[in-house]
Amino acid sequence: MISIRSVGKTYRSRHGEVVDALDDVSLDVREKEFVSIVGPSGCGKSTLLKIIAGLVPASGGEVTIRGRPVREPFPDVGFVFQNAVLLPWRTVLDNVMFSIEMLGLPGNDYRARARDLIELAGLAGFERKYPWELSGGMQQRVALCRALVHDPSVLLMDEPFGALDAMTREEMGLELLRIWEERPKTIFFVTHSIPEAILLADRVVVMTPRPGRLARVLDIALDRPRAVEMEFDPRFKAYSEEIRALIFRPRRERVH
């Protein structure tokens, strides 16, 4: 469905140096696939998401979605960021409806859908609450509803649970899977957490930094629905070790 063909990104820093953010990244993603992207900071994960969304042009290569090249922002995506970035002057429901308003879609047609999503995300009864009345995890659920309310086919998530505490984070990951199984989307899920990447995804893309390159793409053959206990599965451990080795080996080599 989404095809990334030798995408590269170079930009000029403020001091005039040329920085290679991404180099020759190629990846084919199927419809409704869950893809995790892991890698250390500075491997261009976020840049890759922005290129897929058409927010940032690639310096080389091309991204196509259902055969159509991405050249500008297109509204068939939903975004979830590390911070919920909700609008503090809007209630939960109005924050979810923000997407509909910005897209210029008729509000009346989507309000029921927004309420359904809020319920699906476990926030029933909180429609009229303001963001400051919610915990960090709940705020992120609202952000997820906002990203899904216009029913996009692609969901781009940039370390969505990175700002949450470890327990909330685990819970949110499984919640996301539950919602995804009800409303299947093609998901790009950027994370720093190797176990999170494995637990959630159909495939894990491992990237190395400076310039950001694909080190390997792993198929995760764990059954669905996923559960936290799968972390004790020997296959889980094997994936984890393989990813760890890919990420940390080049660094050690540089030190010696």
């Binding site: 297109f74 970035v85 909700l86 609008l87 910005m102 210029g104 400051w132």
Partner: protein
């Protein structure tokens, strides 16, 4: 130093005339304050949206701010006469800067994620301004207004000091020259009350217009989404 009771007694004796002078100063203050909002807010918007304008105009705004207003007030009086207009302009000139700077800061404080989101939805710049940037900037705008309103009282009084025949600044100058220090202190007291009342009024409007900000401040947590 005059005794507090003496100040109160003499202020009371002069109450009707002081009321007239207070009205003049209030009027000059509000006119200058209003003018600084009317000019400062659109200017801040332009500074944030146009890098060219920012580079061209911002230094001028800063230089204008660097000139002591007490120093240009006599020149303004020469140009505009000793009437109320010159006081309004002095009040405007001191109130203008905090409004421009704070509003511009507020408009630039929109989380970049929200701008990316708006862009990804292909929302127009105007829609993004109305629904995202402007409300985000409101608390900053109000903190600028709170500084500006007290400054515009000072500006109006400075203008009156330099040359006028009415207003509380005029009362202070003429009372001291006749050794009527009780009356001078009384006028100062009224000025302080005036400035505090205007400050309180702006704060009240702020609470009505952006209640989410007041609440998140009270909770001592950062406003949600920052």
């Amino acid at each position: 130093m005059p005794a507090p009771l003496g100040i109160i007694r003499e202020t009371w004796e002069w109450r009707w005339r002081l009321l007239g002078h207070t009205w003049v100063t209030l009027y000059e203050t509000l006119a200058g304050f209003g003018l600084s909002i009317a000019v400062g807010t659109p200017l801040a918007v332009m500074l944030v949206y146009s890098p060219v304008l920012r580079d061209a105009v911002y230094p001028i705004v800063v230089v204008a701010q660097a000139i002591p207003k007490v120093a240009i007030a006599p020149v303004l009086l020469l140009l505009l006469g000793a009437g109320e207009v010159s006081k309004v302009v002095v009040a405007f000139s001191v109130a203008f800067f905090p409004i421009v700077v704070d509003t511009a800061t507020g408009l630039a404080a929109t989380p970049p994620e929200l701008l990316d989101l708006s862009r990804s939805y292909r929302a127009s710049a105007f829609k993004t301004f109305v629904k995202v940037r402007f409300p985000t900037a409101l608390p900053f705008f109000f903190s600028g207004l709170k500084v500006a309103v007290t400054l515009s009282v000072i500006g109006a009084v400075v203008g009156e000091f330099i040359g006028s025949d009415k207003g509380l600044g005029y009362v202070i100058v003429s009372a001291t020259s006749y050794w009527k220090s009780n009356l001078a202190f009384g006028a100062m007291g009224i000025l302080a009350i005036l400035a505090m009342a205007l400050f309180g009024l702006v704060e009240l409007v702020e609470r009505l217009v952006c209640p989410w900000y007041a609440v998140s401040e009270r909770d001592a947590g950062a406003p949600a989404g920052r």
